[in-house]
Subunit: 207 residues, 2 copies
DNA sequence: TAAACTATCGACCGATGGTCGGTAGAATGA
DNA sequence: TCATTCTACCGACCATCGGTCGATAGTTTA
């Protein structure tokens, strides 16, 4: 049987299903056939829209990063919230555990998904750094941050936040987390050059 | 034709060839057949020594991490060198670009090798943190470091050093490097709580 | 010299990512 | 209304992959 749909619709169907599968089963562990079965299309149709399985992955990562960026932009724009809070929230909003997809976080970042993970990290850093650069500049102007290498510092903070808390690179016990979070916040304070304790309040936000 | 060798010899042959291939071509891109052809054995022989291609990868990563750790131990032991220098050198010695394998660095850390990369990062962090913890404690005792979360800070520094300069996660221009290195050193100073400029001398070491 | 053990072989397997020639059906033009 | 064109779709087919397994050559042991 043949069901015809407009191009863009089919493409989105494939992306939606693939994303769900990649994130829950892992990229390598998801076969193109798995996707075909669920979307209910033939192999030829899949390769009519995408040149390869990897191209689908790239498109999905772009989507994920864009969604995170949109969240960050919305948060950073709201000047009624103190600057430090906005920055922290924008960083935390990158975790896909927020908004919509919930148990995804644990699934997405497992060894089986190293490729997804690495491509995501790269893309996220590239996209998010400019946003935070503006915010940090605002903090420098307001005399709450004092640092010489804003761009490099932002990259480091984004990288650390992601690697320490989103990826499962660190296999930590539950009991370790408070210390890890406190350590991260303390180092973030030092790197940004805030006055000591400026980020202390965020301890409980990591629940 | 059948050439019989002692078990351990064959195993090392396989590991040696596999490592070369994984690092240059990438793990996924290297087929078991590629390895067989070079070592000149049959498929059955390969699987007589290793349960899977992935088990070979794990063994190789363990080797690489162990080599880096040995280098770090040797460096940290030499008390004739100032503490800060020893620590920096120990971190830098993790880069496989040092000692023996030379052009490997660029090859090892490419998108195709995400799995190798991720497993390596995890294992390296686990193995190196305790070593540096001792060294940093020494610095705290000598009043050159001032920090509240030594373990977490070491993890962050190792992670940053690796992600920023060894992986190709950041696609930087050559011209960016000086600023990136300066930024990294400045943040390292702040995190460790040294007096400002304590690590300035290391700028030229990244050549 | 027979038996037992170890290391090796390569044919074979199911699954995978990807190709390709063909075609159904909607849109277009006469 | 019918012929043409174009788009979306089909599924048989392919090379290659990681991995299995029963057979066996070569070495030790009894």
């Amino acid at each position: 049987m043949k069901t015809v749909k407009e191009g863009e619709v089919r493409k989105q169907e494939i992306l939606l299903v693939a994303r769900e599968l990649f994130v829950t089963k892992g990229y390598e562990q998801t076969s193109v056939n798995d996707i075909l079965k669920i979307v209910d299309i033939a192999k030829g149709t899949f390769y009519y829209y995408f040149a390869s399985k990897e191209e689908v992955l790239a498109a999905i990562i772009l989507d994920i990063v864009e969604e995170g960026t949109k969240r960050a932009e919305r948060i950073l724009k709201d000047k009624s919230v103190p600057l430090v809070n906005r920055i922290m929230m924008a960083i935390m909003a990158q975790s896909p555990e927020f908004e919509g997809s919930e148990e995804i976080r644990d699934e997405m970042h497992k060894v089986e998904n190293a490729k997804l993970e690495q491509l995501y990290t790269k893309a996220m850093l590239k996209r998010m750094t400019p946003l935070l650069e503006v915010a940090v500049a605002e903090g420098v102007a307001a005399d709450v941050f004092h640092l010489d290498y804003p761009r490099e510092t932002i990259e480091s903070i984004l990288l650390l936040g992601h690697m320490l808390f989103d990826c499962n690179i660190m296999d930590w016990e539950m009991a370790d987390y408070p210390a890890k979070i406190q350590g991260f916040l303390a180092n973030m304070e030092r790197m940004l050059g805030t006055k000591a304790g400026a980020l202390e309040d965020f301890l409980q936000m990591f629940a």
